[in-house]
């Protein structure tokens, strides 16, 4: 069926695609390169692309001056915490909707998704005041809870779409084979669901890591994750390109790597299985 592709045709596509891809990727590349420059090289005119004195100085400075490690740790705690909490609540819900669907399952799913439609600003004021009254402003706890709730519908949807693909007959077979509900989940469902749960986990860590409304609105210094920490560089007096680049590189590197690894699951996960 496939017909021979001439090498010239392939070469043209290769050149065009690589050019465009590098253009799209360039801001990231430039940030990484700049992070290894001295501040003088970073704003040199004309700009220096590869020929400059490579240095790691910016990375050490960022850590020493601004306690980068603590903000990194905040990001880890908030994104992992909210994702695991979300999975804990969403897994049973998605399981029951996928395997014991009722008349209202579809409506319920749509309703859950619609809660995502409620803009965060709509509830900013009360959430801010509740956190203030509970003494949770600038605390990781508040962000874990809030990020769990805002990502819960997405987690439920993703898991649901993965579970939906596990054929119901297999669970019935397990039931016929004498499996109790517990062993049905333990021996049959869980092993088959692990890939779906894993990619849901990865995608939600990414989403939570990059969440930049609540993290900016509810933290000041103590609990600020990387999103808020980086935003603090926006004040002009603190701005040094090389150091900004070093901080940015460290903030995006782990997620970029994670994202590249999960890119196969990314599409079906984010579209809830609608596009595969």
């Amino acid at each position: 069926m496939a017909r021979a592709v001439t090498n010239r045709r392939k070469l043209v596509f290769t050149l065009v695609a690589w050019t465009l891809a590098l253009l799209i990727f360039f801001p990231i590349l430039w940030t990484v390169l700049t992070s290894f420059k001295s501040e003088a090289d970073a704003i040199a005119s004309p700009p220096k692309f590869l020929f400059f004195d490579w240095t790691l100085e910016n990375y050490t400075t960022v850590q020493e001056r601004s306690d980068y490690a603590r903000h990194f740790w905040n990001s880890v705690v908030i994104s992992l915490g909210s994702t695991f909490l979300g999975l804990l609540i969403a897994t049973p819900a998605a399981w029951s909707m996928a395997f014991v669907p009722g008349k209202r399952t579809r409506d319920l799913l749509m309703w859950m998704l619609s809660t995502k439609m409620m803009p965060a600003v709509g509830v900013l004021v009360p959430i801010y005041l509740i956190c203030r009254d509970l003494g949770l402003l600038d605390s990781r706890t508040a962000l874990v809870v809030i990020l769990t709730l805002i990502n819960l519908p997405i987690i439920v949807w993703m898991l649901y779409s993965y579970f939906k693909e596990i054929p119901g007959e297999i669970l019935e077979a397990a039931r016929m084979d004498g499996a109790s509900l517990r062993s049905e989940i333990l021996y049959v469902l869980a092993p088959m669901a692990v890939p779906g749960i894993a990619s849901t986990l990865l995608l939600n860590i990414i989403l939570a890591w990059n969440e930049a409304f609540w993290t900016l609105a509810l933290t000041a210094a103590k609990a600020a994750p990387l999103t808020a920490f980086i935003a603090s560089y926006s004040s002009p007096e603190g701005l040094f390109y090389a150091k900004l680049s070093a901080a940015s590189t460290m903030a995006i590197a782990p997620i970029l790597v994670m994202g590249w690894f999960s890119q196969k699951q990314l599409v079906r996960g984010l579209t809830f299985g609608a596009v595969k």
Binding site: M1, K10, T14, V16, A17, W18, A21, I24, F25, P27, W30, S45, P46, P47, I89, A90, A93, S96, F99, V100, P101, L108, L109, M110, M112, S114, T115, M117, M118, P119, V121, G122, V123, L124, V125, P126, I127, Y128, L129, I130, L152, V156, I206, W209, F213, L216, T227, I230, A231, S234, L244, S245, S248, L256, M258, V267, L270, T271, V275, K276
Partner: protein, 290 residues
């Protein structure tokens, strides 16, 4: 399609998620509605008297409000148009035979994983800055006066940054949708005498409709609440030129400490989101088979 016992268990497993989401929906919403009828300044202690709809009048008649609404719609619409059109073109390109396709894919999706504050800062300072950004350097190199992106075209600049973040998402989804197209359909069309452009128009584009719907739905959810990019780059300015609804509400409540007006703005934002949502859910309900 199942037995009584499993149905009872199912309800039990479903309830924590449903109850939590219900609380998350209702409690803050009720409080927002309540606050929006009070005269409530964070810095003024004492009672918060009931003022009826005065906060709404104040918020809606504020000239910043209509600007913010228009900006919100332009932002969402602009980013959607850019990402969908470019996304389709990029997806078509990436679907062609080439060397290093895997690496190209990785490069193209990378911006999606960059946190909003980072991409906003990098674009603002290292690319769009009129004094030392790369674009300024490029202009100088060809003898032009550097363009002051955030001074002259703040909203367009924000749109460009947000579009850069979301283009990978659209491309990747449309590429996946494209690859699910049955090659025999295209061959049949070729046998039927349809030239490439007609094949694109009559076969490929209709096949992509579902993917495009999904892209629009999911992006709209996120684009309606773009915040960090504006906060970091322009802070809504100059004036209110790049203020969207989320940023306006944020500014009223947490920068000017007017809880009442902020809450009223929040209610308006919810109403706007729901109007959009109704249209989207109707379109998507058909496409996403639950």
């Amino acid at each position: 399609m199942s037995t009584q016992a499993s149905r009872a268990a199912a309800r039990l497993m479903l309830s924590p998620a449903v109850i939590l989401l219900l609380m998350w929906m209702i409690v803050p919403l009720a409080m927002t509605l309540w606050f929006s009828t009070l005269r409530y300044r964070l810095l003024q202690p004492g009672a918060h008297p009931f003022v009826g709809l005065r906060n709404y009048v104040f918020f809606v008649t504020d000239p910043a409000f209509s600007t913010a609404i228009v900006n919100t719609l332009i932002l969402v619409g602009g980013v959607l148009v850019i990402t969908v059109v470019l996304g389709i073109l990029l997806a078509l390109l990436l679907d062609q035979p080439m060397w290093g396709q895997g690496v190209v894919r990785l490069l193209v999706i990378a911006p999606f994983f960059v946190m909003p504050t980072v991409s906003a800062l990098v674009w603002k300072n290292m690319f769009m800055s009129p004094t030392s950004g790369l674009f300024a350097e490029l202009s100088k190199a060809v003898g032009l006066v550097p363009f002051d992106f955030f001074g002259q075209a703040p909203l367009a600049s924000v749109i460009a940054i947000v579009a850069w973040q979301w283009l990978p998402f659209a491309t990747l989804i449309l590429l996946t949708a494209l690859q699910s197209l049955d090659r025999e359909q295209l061959e049949a069309a070729e046998m039927d005498g349809a030239p490439p452009l007609k094949r694109f128009w009559f076969i490929i584009l209709p096949h992509l409709a579902r993917g495009v719907t999904v892209v629009i739905l999911i992006q709209t959810i996120f684009l309606l609440s773009v915040f960090a990019e504006i906060r970091v780059t322009t802070n809504g300015g100059p004036g209110v030129a790049s203020t969207n609804l989320p940023f306006l509400v944020y500014a009223r409540s947490l920068l000017q400490f007017d809880v009442g007006a902020g809450a009223a703005g929040g209610v308006v934002a919810i109403i706007l989101a729901n109007i959009v949502a109704i249209f989207l859910m109707r379109a998507v309900g058909k496409n996403l088979d639950a």
